[in-house]
């Protein structure tokens, strides 16, 4: 046995190459340094569960959804495997974002780790690429329309818009060629790129050493930094394994446990099968894109064309220029309050937009059909007829009365107190702002009935 181990050690260079590598000295660090390694472990889990899913998944529009139904309902523990892949994706997006925020906050992108940051930027980008292509493979209604919405944004690009749309669709419309391309992108292309970038990222972590926890008043200086870092390792460094590594293991295990429990307790939904002829649907992206979906609803239409193209490009540009704009100087967030501000503003904005995305107050509620009985019970004659028109003519899809209805337009529960009969009639006839004009579709009698009904709401 000993002889076999000795032989392996000699041939593989375990004690001469591998041992020094995992025992290389690192600064003493806190729990925040475990986010990066947990992202790596989450990626490994995605690869393993993804490969397992690929054993069964059929990447063609006529059977993709059914194969996922089989995985979810019939295959032994298939729903857990799929659940781990689903919640693992959420974990990866959260972890890679938190890792980027943490590296930004502690100024670890500065000299000499600029390329660590740039490779990390690409890893962040491609993680979102995995999230986008992954949600499409479900091939449900949300997936189908996510491709279309993505293509509609690409179509806004000047000159190459149609070309980009053609690339995304792999043809004239979403069809047989679309899914296989997203599949190949999701399981071969982006993972291969991520493996390469991860290799570079980890190599650079070893080459430059993991950044030391920042100390306020000790700025990074190109001339002295490396010497100071070496001295720090010499005096206070600890071997990565196991002195620092045990924390990575504990945190990754905690993340893994949460993902597994979520997969068992909240197995992901499949939604309805993609069908371009079933038009009564509420397409929504997975949460990692829902905040952007909400943003596209809320920005003023005048700046939309520019925004759709420039916002992603500008965001990318900011990431790329960051280590060159601020390559040296203070690293501590205490001396860089603007860095804390940027992270807080970004996190709060995304959270607020996510909340808005789930509520979608800008969308007509296409399922709203009836006013509450408390509103209609006492009505008679013209006002009763008006309340029925309010339900059938689409008013209720956008306006709430006593808690029922859409949120697109103003709440009309007490509109009679705000507007007189003439103003009400004028609004309905002409519309305005975002309200359609009903002048051509309502008869004068219907119009006055509606005004009677609304005028009585006080």
């Amino acid at each position: 046995m000993k002889a076999v181990i000795g032989w392996l050690d000699d041939r593989l260079g375990l004690t001469t190459v591998f041992k020094p590598l995992i025992e290389h000295p690192v600064p003493q660090t806190g729990w925040d340094y475990t986010i990066g390694s947990a992202t790596l472990i989450a990626f490994a889990v995605q690869v393993v569960t993804g490969v397992a899913l690929a054993f069964t998944y059929v990447p063609t529009p006529d059977h993709a959804y059914e194969s996922l139904q089989f995985i979810t309902d019939t295959a032994v523990l298939g729903s857990v495997v799929r659940g781990v892949h689903y919640w693992g994706a959420t974990a990866m997006v959260l972890l890679v974002s938190a890792h980027a925020a943490q590296v930004f906050l502690i100024g670890a992108f500065k000299f000499p780790r600029e390329v660590n940051w740039l490779s990390g930027t690409l890893l962040l980008l491609f993680t979102f690429g995995m999230a986008f292509t992954g949600q499409l493979l479900r091939w449900n209604q949300d997936a189908y329309w996510a491709v279309v919405v993505g293509a509609a944004q690409a179509a806004r690009a000047p000159l190459i818009g149609d070309w980009l749309t053609g690339i995304l669709f792999a043809g004239q419309s979403v069809g047989g060629a679309t899914l296989t391309r997203f599949y190949a992108t999701h399981v071969f292309m982006i993972p291969a790129i991520i493996f390469g970038l991860l290799g570079l990222h980890l190599y650079l972590v070893v080459r430059h050493g993991v950044s030391e926890p920042p100390v306020a008043g000790v700025p990074v200086d190109r001339v002295t930094y490396r010497q100071r870092y070496e001295r720090l390792l010499h005096h206070h460094g600890v071997p990565f394994w196991p002195d620092a590594g045990w924390k990575d293991v504990v945190f990754a295990l905690a993340v893994g446990t949460i993902v597994l429990l979520l997969a068992i307790r909240f197995p992901p939904d499949l939604g309805e099968k993609a069908d371009p002829t079933m038009l009564l649907t509420y397409p929504r992206p997975d949460w990692y894109f829902l905040w952007y979906f909400a943003l596209l609803a809320l920005i003023p239409p005048q700046i939309e064309d520019a925004f759709i193209i420039l916002f992603p490009l500008l965001l990318g540009l900011l990431f790329v220029i960051l280590p060159f704009v601020a390559p040296t100087g203070e690293r501590s967030p205490r001396r860089r309050p603007w860095a804390i501000g940027v992270v807080v503003i970004f996190a709060v904005s995304v959270a607020a937009l996510l909340g808005a995305g789930y509520r979608s107050p800008w969308s007509p509620d296409l399922k709203a059909s009836h006013l509450p009985a408390s509103v209609t019970s006492g009505l008679s004659g013209s006002a009763l007829q008006g309340s029925q028109l309010f339900e059938t003519r689409g008013c209720l899809n956008c306006h709430t009365i006593a808690g029922q209805g859409g949120q697109r337009g103003p709440d009309l529960t007490q509109v009679g107190a705000r507007l007189g009969p003439n103003e009400l009639t004028w609004r309905i006839l002409n519309g305005g702002r975002n309200m359609p004009a009903y002048g051509t579709t309502l008869s004068p009698a219907e119009l006055s009935a509606l005004a009677d009904f609304l005028g009585g709401l006080r």
């Binding site: 293509a151 509609a152 069809g175 975002n434 579709t441």
Partner: protein, 170 residues
């Protein structure tokens, strides 16, 4: 005098030549290999988009003033396209002889608009775009009216000319 002799000029230029020719040949090989791969991957862009007239029903099956959903086959769908071989559209019969076929895609970001017959409006479930019965914008973020397909009547049947999905008329 050092024991190691500096390589003479011949050796240096020979090494440089070998290095350059090796890299050059490798680059050439990579370029040659990538031509068919790129052409294969970009083929959907290189192929002209076929357009075909599709029968969507008898003229008499549509009532004047009504808008209904129709579905038609895409030109030359792949055998494994399943349900996505079809595309839907909204067809309005304006008069005895005139039809308008609207693309279902909202011109804002492409989501499927819904015809609400009683309200006589198209409503989009994504970002709240609203259109009148004639496809013009009634509210919300859409930058332009709904895209239409060409239609014709042949032997009492309504036909629609397919076209690539677009999110607005140029």
């Amino acid at each position: 005098v050092s024991e190691q002799q500096a390589p003479d000029n011949d050796v240096v230029s020979r090494r440089r030549f070998l290095s350059r020719i090796s890299l050059g040949l490798s680059a050439l090989a990579a370029a040659v290999v990538s031509v068919p791969i790129l052409a294969y991957l970009l083929s959907p862009l290189l192929r002209p988009a076929p357009q075909e007239w599709r029968d969507v029903g008898a003229v008499d099956s549509f009532r004047v003033g009504q808008t209904v959903e129709i579905a038609f086959d895409e030109p030359s769908p792949l055998p494994w396209a399943g349900q996505t071989a079809q595309t839907a559209a909204w067809l309005r019969r304006n008069s005895d002889t005139q039809f308008t076929a609207f693309a279902v895609n909202c011109t804002h970001l492409g989501c499927p608009v819904n015809w609400r017959a009683d309200a006589e409006l198209f409503m989009c479930p994504c970002h709240g775009g609203v259109y009148y019965a004639d496809g013009t914008v009634a509210g919300g973020p859409p930058p332009q009216r709904l895209v239409t397909y060409d239609t014709q009547i042949v032997n009492g049947r309504v036909q629609l000319l397919t076209k690539p999905v677009s999110f607005g008329e140029a």
